[in-house]
Symmetry: C2
Subunit: 485 residues, 2 copies
């Protein structure tokens, strides 16, 4: 690096230190190494520093310095993203620019809970769990829930529009958000933290920043709507033979349990065998019976107390048999602890997969009506092309969101499998998804992982609109270069 450039960066970092304090401008190898690699250790990049502002004014000051010095910005929360969206680019990348990581972990204050309005306002660096706990303390409920909730931050949830296990009833992160505070690429603080459920005054700008993966600015705080803590909760496992039967059950339960139905997950027998083998959370809820072809996990969140909810659900499931729904086996959790055990089988699937070794993962969405045909066709194409592969299919059927993972045949090295088959498997899966108007990314985003598929999703016109919006809001292209767009 020529000396003049070197002094340019030194000047920049010194200005950052002056703005927010030397101890918050980290340039040591240890901190850089941790922040420059993604959660799945698939992406690795380079950054000049990890910068830790304390509040939105600090963030704005740093952004203005980046604009002045032409330094790119990767915003990071809990660094739990699954598509490399929060990892800086490596120097070798064509799109590489000198860049810093802005870590929002010090923006971790709960700014206020408004009980009568049922809203909470938090800074972006709060973990999801901190938000859940803060509102639970005053008797309210924030329904967003996902595996990484102890580590992921609410800013990251917003920037990737995280989904999780209760979308069926409460929607994605986007649907829960009422207001945002954003530092724009110019370094202005746009504060719109209104806790309003109706507000039709001009373009709804918050939706541009939600799900934008840090390419249009930095979300520094948000206001969310809250709900009453459910008075009764119930978890049920139902065994069915086909995906069509699972969809019939979904529609039946939506009609009879109304919006109490908050989760509707499916897990194939292959998933359950894998969990049993690698990290069984206990005895099978189905006892001595084999796991059904498809296990449906049903979650109910109700205003009714548990005993009445249990009675009602038992009645409704009895009546289902009369209405010609084919349900092989039903197990109702008779306590919260038993419900958690049922969920443990669902939640251990990714752990069991990881214990076995890497596989080719897909986070896809489809119209629910298209899922049976998708599985028929895609399973067939993959098993024809790659005999012996194992399909590990589970996910949020109620939202049309499948985690459709492909594991190598037993005895084949995962490294070899990934190297030789991943690209072709992805192509087959995404072709089958796109053929049915599905999505190549349901809840994880685009990041670095799925950029090549963006045009297939947006079309030339949509992609062009994205580009001109990006260009006009971030004309220097300093915000998260090489990600998404």
């Amino acid at each position: 690096m020529p000396n003049c450039l070197n002094s340019h960066y030194t000047d920049f970092l010194r200005a950052c230190a002056t703005a927010i304090g030397q101890q918050y401008v980290l340039t040591d190898d240890f901190n850089l190494k941790i922040a420059c690699v993604d959660w799945r250790k698939r992406y690795q990049g380079t950054a000049l520093a990890v910068i830790r502002p304390a509040n939105s004014d600090d963030v704005a000051n740093i952004v203005r310095l980046c604009v002045q010095y032409g330094i790119a910005i990767v915003t990071q929360g809990g660094n739990t993203g699954l598509c490399g969206g929060a990892t800086p680019l490596p120097i070798e990348s064509d799109e590489y620019k000198p860049q810093i990581i802005i870590s929002l972990q010090r923006l971790n204050r709960v700014l206020g809970v408004d009980i009568d309005n049922a809203t909470v306002t938090v800074e972006a660096g709060c973990t999801l769990q901190e938000v859940q706990q803060a509102v639970a303390e005053v008797g309210l409920w924030f329904p967003l829930s996902l595996a990484s909730e102890g580590t992921c931050t609410i800013g990251g949830n917003l920037s990737t529009n995280a989904g999780g296990t209760a979308v069926l009833r409460y929607g994605n992160t986007r649907d829960l958000c009422l207001g945002l505070e954003v530092v724009t690429p110019k370094g202005d603080v746009w504060c719109d933290l209104r806790g309003l459920r109706k507000n039709n005054t001009g373009y709804d700008l918050k939706h541009l920043f939600i799900g934008a993966e840090g390419t249009l600015g930095i979300i520094t705080a948000a206001t969310f709507k809250l709900f009453p803590i459910p008075r009764g909760q119930l978890t049920v496992l139902v065994g069915v033979s086909t995906i069509t039967q699972a969809i019939q059950l979904l529609r039946y339960l939506q009609a009879h349990m109304g919006a109490d139905l908050s989760g509707f997950e499916i897990m194939s027998v292959a998933c359950m065998n894998l969990v049993a083998q690698y990290c069984s959370p206990g005895p099978s809820p189905f006892g001595d019976m084999p796991w059904p072809e498809i296990t449906v996990l049903v979650q109910l969140d109700s205003g009714i107390e548990f005993p009445q909810l249990l009675d009602r659900m038992a009645e409704v499931l009895d009546a289902a048999q009369i209405e010609n729904l084919t349900l092989q086996s039903i197990v109702l959790a008779h306590s919260a602890a038993q419900g958690q055990q049922f969920w443990a089988w669902r939640e251990h699937i990714p752990l069991a997969q990881a214990a076995e070794g890497k596989n080719v993962k897909h986070d896809i969405a489809l119209p629910i009506s298209a899922i049976p045909d998708f599985l028929l066709s895609c399973n067939q194409r993959l098993t024809d092309e790659f005999p012996g592969i194992r399909l590990i299919t589970f996910g949020h059927l109620g939202d049309g969101n499948l985690h459709y993972n492909v594991a190598p045949p037993l005895g084949i090295s995962t490294a070899l499998f990934l190297e030789q088959c991943e690209e072709e498997i992805n192509t087959i899966v995404y072709e089958e998804v796109l053929l049915r108007n599905g999505s190549v990314s349901a809840e994880h985003g685009i990041g670095q992982l799925k950029r090549e598929w963006l045009q297939s999703m947006k079309g030339a016109t949509g992609l062009n609109m994205m580009r001109i919006i990006k260009q006009v809001l971030d004309p220097q292209h300093l915000f998260n270069p090489g990600k998404m767009i």
Copy 2:
């Protein structure tokens, strides 16, 4: 008009006729007069023609001609908007440009209902009622509902992000929409009619067009999520003395009835007296008792059948008395017909107001927690300033949305009152709203009526972002000039 200009417009209209058929380019006085005035007859403008395309390709052709000839476009559906957003500007306006009205009423096809996916795809010119009916025919339910549903079109609902009476449970039009087809200001058709509940692939562009009041393009079709038809529905009237008691009841019912609670409306005693006087829909549901200070109308949509729902609600309301909620009087509708009678009292308020004469209307939103203080302060300021005025307050308390209307003192001419007091009343009301982080337009939009208040809502930074997005998507400013932005 100089001849060369005249022939420019003639050429343009001839090109339109060639593109979509002479009979769909209306230039007669009768059609122009109807289309150039708004629903409330508050705004009147001028247009070269009313153009009636048959489909999105027609729309794109007309848009390209408008770009070529520099003609502005006002898009119109049912022409039921309440802020003048679908009315062309008058020639006297500083922002006037030669303009056409594109009426979407021929784009009225239901393109398909996907039962297993619980979605419907419709063209923008379908009336809301046509959409409701089409999905009801296949046993599903579209919950958007508002007074003008027989006339308003779904494209207008989207462009104004219409609210209505079931937002508490199902959200605004925005929340129900999964995909859009839009003709962009360049005349491209951007089709993204995916029926997906999760799709995190790039900027969520649909949210830019929803609520944009036709200033960024023309919505030509949309995909919506649907719900099961409620198996049991129940309407209840509850009398309370104060707004704080009404809010306590809201929180109590949300906790105990869960998401079955789909509507929570309030009506002041002044509203009910007005309805009784001008257009009583029948005997008072409270019998010989006087109307309470505030009547709460509660709507429940449930997966439980009506008799069980009635029992459950009666129990929950009984328990409310034990929990120290002060409820003066309770009437449960024992049939659907009786429920409709209760709703009729609510729905007749605007009619009764119209029968009495004009008044100063406000469609405002507030954090629910701020409503008691807002009413205390704003009522006081208004009655101090304008002794004898009558406050007609009703609305969707569950969403924090009040229709806060101010009628002249008895015996004062409405024309005089509006002329002399409207501006000052608006200023007081909106000041009190903004002081509490509320919104000057909850569900009606900005249009021509509330443009001067946009900056107070968006701030300089937000307004600037709106402007640069508008500029880059519609560089000639041909889409709905003089509205919203």
